[in-house]
Amino acid sequence: MHPYLVGTVTARSVLDAVRAAGAIPGAAAGRRFAVWGESQGGHAALWTGQLARVDGAGLQLVGVAAGAPPTDLAGNFRQAGNANAKAFLTALAADSWSRYYGVPLRLGARRTPGIMQRMARNCVSVDSTPRLGALLGILALRQDLRRVDFPATAPWSSYVAANSASPVSQVPVLIAQARADPLVAPAVTRQFARRLCANRVPVRWIDLRGKDHATTARQSAPETLQWIEARFAGARAPTDCGPI
């Protein structure tokens, strides 16, 4: 199963993957690495940056790149632009956290947990066009969660806090974000970037037109790869902290 939005687990698995890759002779993988991800993968990338210093013994992180990352999770749950996406995000997180932290999935109405589990465990992609069954599930969820403030409801509130990304980093950060992303609210990402800037992190901000969440990484790939290459080369990291 995939631990969804569990920062420490995803970050450690990335650090351990870099270590494991080093054990394949033909790969000749070194200890210097950059991390890049999109959506929940962007969240994992930011968390890798956060834990690299403590848990990354022997490894050297040079930069963190994130496309449309969930950051301040309370903000993300409340401000997702699209109501379907919001219900889906809540289902994925509640199901994942209930399994990871070993708490019963109690939320909304009596039918709600079942709907959430089915949705989360069928590996529905956030961005694929949902089938009718999934669509009905999403509509039922929206109905059930209408009066639920998920990030303010115990025990979920504590997991929301524990798995939010901190706006600090030892290495330069790149963030790409579509201006009208319906799932990861641009205002939340922008606020996170501003807080990184306030903490003197060099932030490269890539502003993408449109509302396409799923192609954030693809759209920003040329610039991101160039940025990553420059981090490996040891160049001075650019900052967009003024205009963000």
């Binding site: 698995s13 993957a17 270590r19 070194g30 991390v35 890049w36």
Partner: protein, 93 residues
């Protein structure tokens, strides 16, 4: 980026808590037969540890240029995969 090792961490947990194994230990690296031209790849299984000290076996993929092993180790780009995407390892119920 051609000289970089691309590493894809899939985060699909295969096995339940293994006991006190060193995190980051490579368990298996199976060569992938069909790869893009000039590249080689391995499906890997390795150990990682969560924030409660529980160790699990997870999967990923390592992609590297198909060329002589360089004198200096290659830099690594870790791509953190989305949960919806690795369908082959997801297990619908």
């Amino acid at each position: 980026m051609r000289s970089t090792v691309l590493l894809i961490s899939l985060l699909a947990i295969l096995a339940d808590p293994a006991s006190a194994q060193p995190a980051g230990r490579l368990i298996a690296a199976d060569p992938v037969v069909e790869t893009p031209a000039g590249m080689q790849a391995w499906r890997v299984r390795y150990l990682t540890t969560d924030d409660r000290g529980r160790s699990s076996e997870v999967t990923g993929m390592v992609v590297a240029p198909r060329e002589a092993v360089p004198r200096q180790a290659r830099p690594v780009l870790a791509w953190t995969h989305e949960p919806g995407a690795p369908r082959s390892s997801a297990r619908p119920r």
